[in-house]
């Protein structure tokens, strides 16, 4: 399982590298959607069907919105030469990445081997959950019954995002 997930994630890394270096903006947006669809394969290999359904439809809607923004614009990223600000930005990026890699190497000593996690907190969520909540789907029981505050917070965040989009796009400025 470790090797299979690594191969699919390797394809995702190649797709991501193409997405940030493509000349045409439409190709870049489609490569982002392909990375999202590969995540669906990873979710199905990790035995998470709820997440696979949500990710596939959400990725399709994201692709529609991004294409609606890109399709009528100039669509060509002009090739610009590297000037001093470009060098400073690239060196800062590489420095940040090296520092984060060091901290990741230190903190990955505490991770369990893939597939043998210790289930410290999930024991109390799994045993007797079907009797306590009455639902056969454990993830729905956890989302709506044991952790209902998170769901309420997410509904409020969606309403706030809709209010933000309506304010930005539907109010006319002063003439």
């Amino acid at each position: 399982m470790d090797l299979t997930i690594s191969i699919v994630t390797g394809f995702m890394v190649l797709g991501a590298i193409y997405a940030i270096h493509a000349r045409d903006l439409l190709s870049s947006v489609i490569a982002c959607a392909i990375v999202g669809y590969s995540l669906v394969i990873c979710f199905l290999l990790l035995k998470a069907p709820d997440l696979a359904i949500v990710q596939i439809v959400v990725d399709t809607v994201t692709l529609i919105i991004m294409v609606a923004v890109v399709i009528n614009s100039s669509r060509e990223e002009p090739y610009t030469k590297f000037d001093t600000q470009g060098y400073i930005t690239a060196i800062t990026g590489i420095l940040v990445i090296v520092i984060l890699l060091y901290f990741f190497a230190v903190s990955s000593q505490t991770l369990d081997v893939l597939g043998k996690s210790s289930l410290r907190m999930a024991k109390y969520y799994i045993e007797g959950a079907a009797q306590k909540t009455g639902s056969a789907n454990l993830v729905t029981g956890v989302v709506f019954d044991f952790r209902g505050y998170d769901t309420m917070g997410e509904a409020v965040v969606l309403v706030t995002a809709v209010l933000g989009v309506l304010t930005i796009l539907r109010l006319k400025g002063k003439k």
Binding site: I53, V57, L169
Partner: protein, 145 residues
């Protein structure tokens, strides 16, 4: 904006209804099979986006649709919070109390308040995503070329 050709319109007439019914199935069976409120809500929004794209903005009045959808979304959010608060009235005095009878695991009518939560969260998510899409379409229509 103009709609699409007649082949797309006929295919949409055949398919959009089935996608809508599939979204309702995923929402209502949220406590038995994978899915639930969020997945089914986005599927329903997908079927509404399909109808809007195939028939175009000249055929459907987009501003009126948007006004009605915002009202539906506000009602659904208020109902979600009211169901959560109504746990205070029955039994233990905690928020998000699952107070209706639990029933037998595996039957359609079971799991207390969970099917009601799934339905209203599904309506709210579908309305939100449809509003975001409609705002983009109205902006592109009204902006000067």
């Amino acid at each position: 904006m103009k709609g699409m050709t007649i082949i797309v319109k006929k295919t949409t007439q055949l398919i959009a209804g089935m996608v809508f019914m599939y979204g309702i199935y995923v929402i209502v069976h949220g406590h038995l099979t994978p899915g639930g409120g969020f997945a089914g809500g986005v599927v329903i929004a997908g079927s509404l986006i399909l109808v809007t794209l195939a028939y175009g903005g000249d055929f459907l009045k987009l501003v009126k649709e948007e006004t009605r959808t915002t009202i539906v979304e506000s009602f659904a959010t208020i109902l979600v919070i009211m169901i959560a608060v109504s746990g205070f009235l029955f039994g233990m005095k905690i928020f998000f109390n699952n107070f209706l009878p639990k029933g037998i695991v595996g039957h359609l009518v079971s799991a207390g308040v969970l099917p009601l939560y799934n339905i209203f969260v599904g309506i709210e998510v579908a309305a939100s995503i449809f509003i975001i899409f409609l705002s983009l379409m109205i902006f592109k229509e009204e902006s000067p070329k």
